[in-house]
Amino acid sequence: MLPGLVYLIINNYLPMFGMIIAFKDINFAKGILGSDWVGLKNFEYLFKTSDAFIITRNTILYNVLFIVINTIGAIGLAILLNEIRQKFFQRFYQSVIILPHLISMVIVSYLVYAMLSSDTGLINKTILPMFGAEPIAWYSSKEFWPYILTVVNIWKGIGYLSVVYLASIISIDPEYYEAATLDGASKWQQIRAITIPLITPVITMMTLLAIGRIFYSDFGLFYQVPMDSGILSETTNVIDTYVYRALMNLGDIGMSSAAGVYQSIVGFVLVILSNYAVRKFNKENALF
């Protein structure tokens, strides 16, 4: 038990106390504890920049978009998968659609590059010429990235989510469907009247979990896939990438720790609120 606890304290609890960095003017000569307190100065600087608004907006909008599309898509896929009766095919489709989930974002960024590279990409060299369109410099046109990132996110994440929903669809008692078929209900009516209502608790839980994490984003998706490109930052910068760049590239500890604390605290409040919402809705589904 001891090693695990020591690790938790070092890896999780020490950084929590380390959040005081955000309220200090860090001076390594004086050490972290010895540096001067500056109160909320770092936060003032952060919220004076236009970055604070952009990263908050991007983080939330992307997450809302991902939650809506992934949930609807995954439920659709799960329903289709449930219609497949041959075990072999059901397993085969499942395996293939969660394959992208196994791949690291670095590899994903290579796959995207093979598609979008301006000189050698599949889209510019093969697909656009087929329609007689001009090549597009994807990696320097920020207006396309909301679509690109959404597609990549769906490609990578939807299979996983659909397996989760499929598990809950499979656990529905088949007698419901038998009775409905006897009464002459069509497939579509069965889906609307039986499947969807019966998996609603799972949908609610997954969605609320996702809402609780709406202030966090998949760092790899926003950092690797646009290839850390500064030109695209207006549509690809999120809180996570902002914190990382401010720390690693600019060495701006005050600013990045302020953004980090902003994220931790608002994120925490959102988790608590969404859990509260689940409790109200259905006590059994609440996480705590």
């Binding site: 038990m1 196994l102 050698t120 290839m227 030109i231 914190v243 980090g260």
Partner: protein, 295 residues
């Protein structure tokens, strides 16, 4: 009626087949690009049906095997060592928490659970690891931060111990003269193999795919994992293309970059082990996803 069912089934097949193809297509493009000749890529771009096939990219990789082999070694080492260590730590922490006779029972669970809800963020972690533990550019940087133990898995294992290991069995073993540790080894561990295998699999995939710790804490190429090599290549491309006047000035550097097909070949080499192993573990992987979903 049966007509209705049949057509629904066909529609499902077609839709799923289509989506499966969409999932696979990028990988096929990657592999085809890696065996295209340099000229056909420059002329026609990456494509599914390259004009000329060429094994040059792989010959090049073979010639530079030293660097890649080393990265492979790093990746394999952190995957095996990291997975083992994190499994050991997870079970050792989860087991006492599952026992009814431990003092402050709920406090420990809360301590673990709270880490899932709240964290200090990147900056303090980074400063603590680099300033206090001086982990930068050591192999530990790839193993210890972030991945070694996940609170969620601790709670998952604890729940498994609570529900699937009857306390009567442990008591019986103790009456027969087995100590705490012996009872844990002989009774609890064998019973918990299914959950440990699932978590081990997820941990192993996380370690194999991890590039974040390498990118954050490692600058020494000797310690690069496969993912970090890939990451470095792609950021070099980005660096050169965003500073085009700079790359024109130092033309030599440009030619040192692995050419277009070699890049894809390295990515293939990086992803291949997972693709090969996948059919063997996909059953457990799918099961694991559902376990995780039911908390």
């Amino acid at each position: 009626m049966s007509y209705d069912n049949k057509s629904v089934r066909w529609i499902s097949h077609i839709a799923l087949m289509g989506f499966s193809i969409l999932c696979l297509v990028p990988f096929i493009l990657l592999v085809m690009s890696s065996i295209s000749s340099e000229d056909s890529i420059i002329q026609n771009g990456y494509s599914f049906i390259p004009e000329h096939l060429s094994g040059k990219a792989y010959e090049y990789l073979w010639a530079h095997w030293g660097e890649l082999g080393r990265a492979y070694g790093v990746t394999v080492f952190i995957t095996i060592f990291g997975t083992t260590a994190s499994l050991a730590m997870t079970t050792m922490l989860a087991y006492p928490m599952s026992r009814q006779d431990i003092p402050l029972k709920n406090f420990w669970a809360l301590l673990v659970f709270f880490t899932l809800l709240f964290n200090g963020g990147l900056v303090p972690s980074y400063l603590i690891y680099t300033q206090v533990f001086e982990i930068k550019n050591t192999i530990w940087a790839l193993i210890v931060p972030g991945l070694l133990m996940n609170g969620f898995y601790v709670l998952l294992v604890r729940t498994f111990f609570l529900t699937s290991v009857p306390p009567a069995l442990i008591e019986a073993a103790q009456i027969d003269g087995a100590g705490e540790i012996k009872a844990f080894y002989k009774i609890v561990l064998p019973l918990s193999m299914p959950i440990l295998a699932t978590i081990g699999l997820f941990e192993a995939i996380l370690y194999w795919n991890d590039w974040f710790n390498g990118m954050t804490y490692v600058t020494d190429p000797k310690l690069f994992s496969i993912q970090n090599i890939l990451n470095r290549i792609i950021s070099d491309i980005q660096f050169l293309s965003s500073n085009s006047n700079l790359s024109a000035a130092s033309g030599g550097e440009m030619s040192e970059l692995p050419s277009t097909s070699v890049r894809m070949a390295i990515a293939v080499v990086g992803v291949l082990p997972i693709l090969i192993a996948y059919p063997f573990f996909q059953k457990y992987f799918i099961k694991g996803i559902t376990i995780g979903a039911v908390k």
